[in-house]
């Protein structure tokens, strides 16, 4: 049991990365429009995030330095500041979207307008970050997010044509009524969702919060190897549910309410209750993950004391950052901006900034000053380098594709 609880950091990180509010809807939308023909991107994304999260976890365990320490160290103060600015903006927007997402889940459960729930959700999230121990936080929300496994159960209950799903998955090309640019736009959005930089910000900082040492390297690796593939599996199950129910009916999913419909149809009222619980836990967990990441990244760039392992007064600037981000994000959701649209855009902008975050990780993982004997092996370096090349291509293509396809229409 203790061993199992040790991997909740990986589970929470992956749920916040793979099935947060933007990804929940993006996965369902992709399933409803492209069937399983983009499944290869999710698999690629799982592999990529595993490679870099493993490196950042190893760095955290051996040197106690988290990812944004490395960003400044290797990119220098100026390029580091550019990355910080871009990351921080995306993080603040994402916090807003996740708060909105958790409020939307409560709306689905109660029928009461989501705007009513926004202040309560934001306050609860802040309170958790202010008072609750890091381990408790990751256990509660990581495990509650597992309720999303109901998507896999519902898929079985729906009794899909497995052969057809398999055929879609093995034929990576757009269906006949969709264009190639749109197909690649969503490929980038899915890859950006799988490899969002805040996952490694959070994962590596979480490792430091949990006081990982060299002895915990196997724990770090287990977190990576269980958490992220699980996140990817949930992504695929959501897409498969949408492909089964919505693709034949020509429904293009565009709301959280529609996205959970296949579960309700497949697994009934209990399924509906579980999926709403899962969506709430995932988006609330993602709120914590992203808001903490904003504090982590700013503090790590400037060298401030950060973390929940000290009393709040000892990390005053860190906690102040989180408080301000939560307040600004809440104000942003209350303007009635569509939370789902916010994350879909920020996913693509995040994709454009990916190399700026992952290159320093790859460099430091090879630096004996930090890593002593635990530097990358040939396997990690080969995969890491291949992904760097892919990420550079993606970052160049992201914004032009977004403009050319009018954000995927």
């Amino acid at each position: 049991m203790k061993k199992f609880l040790g991997i909740t950091l990986g589970i929470l990180t992956a749920i916040g990365g793979f099935v947060d509010i933007g990804d929940l809807v993006a996965n369902a939308l992709v399933g409803s429009r492209f069937g399983m023909s983009l499944a290869w991107v999710v698999l690629l994304g799982v592999l990529g995030i595993c490679v870099f999260a493993e490196m950042s976890g190893r760095i955290a365990a051996v040197s106690r330095r988290a990812v944004f320490d490395l960003v400044r160290e290797r990119l220098g103060p100026r390029a580091g500041l550019v990355n910080l600015g871009a990351s921080f903006l995306i993080l603040a927007l994402t916090v807003a979207a996740e708060i909105g997402g958790a409020a939307l889940a409560l709306e689905l459960a109660t029928g009461v307008d989501y705007l009513v729930w926004v202040p309560a959700v934001a306050f609860a999230a802040w309170l958790v970050m202010w008072r609750v121990k890091f381990e408790t936080l990751e256990r509660v929300f990581g495990l509650a997010g597992l309720a999303l496994v109901i998507f896999i159960v519902a898929l079985w209950q729906l009794g899909p044509d497995w052969g057809q799903l398999w055929e879609q998955a093995t034929r990576p090309a757009p269906p006949r009524d969709e264009g190639l640019p749109t197909y690649f736009y969503y490929a980038i959005a899915l890859l950006g969702g799988a490899m969002t930089p805040y996952e490694v910000f959070f994962f590596s900082s979480g490792g430091v919060e949990e006081k990982w040492t060299r002895r915990d390297l196997s724990v770090a690796r287990a977190n990576v190897l269980v958490g992220f593939p699980l996140g990817g599996l949930l992504s695929l199950a959501i897409a498969a549910c949408a492909a089964t129910v919505f693709l034949p009916a020509h429904v293009q999913v565009d709301s959280l309410g529609q996205m959970v419909l296949p579960v309700a149809l497949g697994a009934g009222q209990v399924g509906l209750a579980l999926v709403i619980l899962g969506v709430f836990a995932a988006t609330f967990g993602a709120t914590l993950e992203v808001a903490l990441s904003s504090g982590y990244s700013l503090s790590q760039y400037f060298g401030w004391q950060w973390g929940k392992f000290v009393r709040p007064r000892e990390a005053a600037r860190f906690h102040a950052t989180i408080l301000v981000v939560v307040i600004v994000a809440t104000a942003l959701v209350l303007t009635t901006i569509d939370p789902i649209m916010v994350t879909e855009y920020s996913l693509v902008f995040a994709a454009a900034a990916l190399p700026l975050t992952y290159l320093p990780v790859l460099l430091i993982a090879n630096d004996r000053d930090y890593m002593q004997d635990k530097v990358n092996g040939r396997f990690s370096n080969t995969l890491g380098t291949a992904f760097m090349i892919l990420l550079i291509v993606v970052s160049i293509a992201a914004i032009p594709l977004m403009l050319a396809t009018k954000a995927g229409q």
Binding site: L108, V112, G257, Q258, L261, T336, D338
Partner: protein, 143 residues
């Protein structure tokens, strides 16, 4: 009000209806996009109403509210586009006749759910399926 604003914005982005139609073909494409958007909402409602017994009332209410706003938003947007010619005007009217029926059907279901539950699920499913088919055909002919 807020909802309508949000739905309107979404539709403006989704269907690209915010600009005037330059020529017949442009108008026709806008019509096809609107048919697709309304068709998507109608089909989603059909699936939900078909599984009525398996859904909770608050959930069904939220889902129908979203669909009703989406359909209404598309109608408002498309209705606001000036047809460039007489032929285009007739095309637009033909579409709006169907989408307005869809709007009424979804709004009617929403009222029923607000009060209690869908009175005649099977009948509603038949009606929505018919609307969905018509819209799909329209979209394929003109898209």
């Amino acid at each position: 009000m807020r909802r309508r604003w949000a739905a309107g914005l979404a539709v403006a982005l989704v269907a690209g209806c915010s600009s005037p139609a330059w020529n017949d073909r442009d108008y026709e494409l806008k019509a096809a996009e609107s048919a697709e958007a309304v068709g998507s909402a109608v089909e989603a409602v059909r699936l939900a109403v078909g599984g009525d017994g398996r859904l909770t009332r608050p959930y069904l209410k939220v889902l129908l509210t979203g669909a009703a706003e989406q359909v209404q938003g598309v109608n408002d947007q498309f209705g606001g586009v000036q047809p460039p010619s007489e032929r285009a005007r007739r095309l637009g009217e033909r579409l709006l006749e169907v989408t307005e029926r869809a709007e009424k059907a979804v709004a009617g279901l929403l009222t029923e759910v607000r009060r209690d539950r869908v009175a005649d699920p099977a009948g509603a499913v038949r009606e929505l399926a018919g609307l969905g088919r018509t819209l799909r055909r329209f979209q394929e002919e003109h898209g």
